[in-house]
């Protein structure tokens, strides 16, 4: 590759025992096998984030692979300010947001989404007091949350994911989503209240 030194790639044994920073350094010098080890370590997390946002397995796989290719191309820009996993997560989030924006331009809004966007319903929902996690196995809870997340609109789900999973502050979410902090707060509030109702309803259906 242009401008890259020729170095001896790390051995496979060295890969599995090396810390991420060492693997990143080797990959930055062109060691593809070091990069492969990084992919192996972080692929589940990157895929999980893509799936949470896109709600489609195939799309999530494609986007996560695209994220890895972009990660390789931009590796020299990685300064180590954050962990490699966090850096990759931001790449996949941006790819997912771009894809969601493209999809939004292409489709007509459904009636439900129009109603959700025109707002107000979350202010009238009665407070849910039943604990959605009580008595559930982890796997069962994950399934319920999975179903509930699919019922949120892209914007509400994204705000929820960026806050609850990515632990971003309101200001950061506003920047990433290209909206005001007030909009972030409204979306997050709606998403949380809707999740509470959906999880409670899913429990009632058992």
């Amino acid at each position: 590759m242009d401008g890259w030194e020729t170095v001896e790639p790390m051995t496979e044994n060295a890969h599995s025992s090396a810390e991420d920073p060492a693997l990143v350094k080797a990959a930055q010098k062109g060691d593809m096998t070091a990069f492969e080890e990084l992919v192996v370590r972080h692929r589940d997390k990157i895929y999980a984030r893509a799936y949470s946002m896109m709600r489609n397995e195939e799309e999530a796989i494609d986007l996560s692979q695209e994220a890895w290719v972009k990660g390789w191309q931009r590796l020299k820009q990685f300064q180590g300010d954050s962990s490699f996993g966090t850096w990759m997560t931001r790449i996949i989030i941006n790819l997912c947001l771009d894809q969601l924006r493209k999809q939004k331009r292409q489709r007509t809004e459904s009636i439900e989404e129009l109603d959700e966007a025109s707002g107000g319903v979350e202010r009238q929902m009665p407070v849910v007091t039943v604990n959605p996690t009580a008595g559930l196995e982890r796997g069962e809870l994950r399934q319920k949350i999975d179903r509930a997340l699919s019922q949120l609109s892209n914007e509400h789900r994204t705000a929820l994911i960026l806050h609850e999973f990515e632990e971003m502050e309101y200001k950061e979410i506003a920047k990433v989503m290209g909206c005001s902090i007030g909009t972030v707060m409204s979306r997050l509030f709606y998403a949380r209240r809707k999740m509470a109702v959906l999880l409670a309803d899913l429990r009632k259906q058992e």
Binding site: I111, L114, D115, S118, G119, G120, R123
Partner: protein, 155 residues
Amino acid sequence: MSARLVRLIGAAWFLAVLTLAMTSASSAQAADLKLRAYLVWGTDDPKPPAGKDYKAADAEIEKKLRSLPLKWQHYFEVSRTNFVVSPSAPTKVSVSGKCEIEVKGGPNSIVDVVMRNKGEEVARQKQPLPSGQYLIVSGNAPNSSGWFVVLKREE
């Protein structure tokens, strides 16, 4: 490729560009557009707020809004106006203290609508608006109500 063919393609290009320029000049005359704009308020309250004498929206406008998947029960007309738009003379519609819409005319019955919030452009919709069709710009308003600027092309 032979020199003759190259000259032929060159000549065809020149003629095509000339024809395009002439047809564009004739059709691109931006005829002024006559529009009617209604400022409408959507709400679940059966009456307008105290002190406001808004009347119920015209049947035609109400029917148009009800054909859309909107949730409100009642629509009141806040105001209406007829105006002419051209590229050189945009018309502004003030929705609230912070939100306004600017409408310009363009060639081929195009309306170019720019929406501004706090002085900043936040959206733009540019499209043909043939006679009898509607372009509605809308958003949330206080107390879970909604605002609508209904643009209709007049003959």
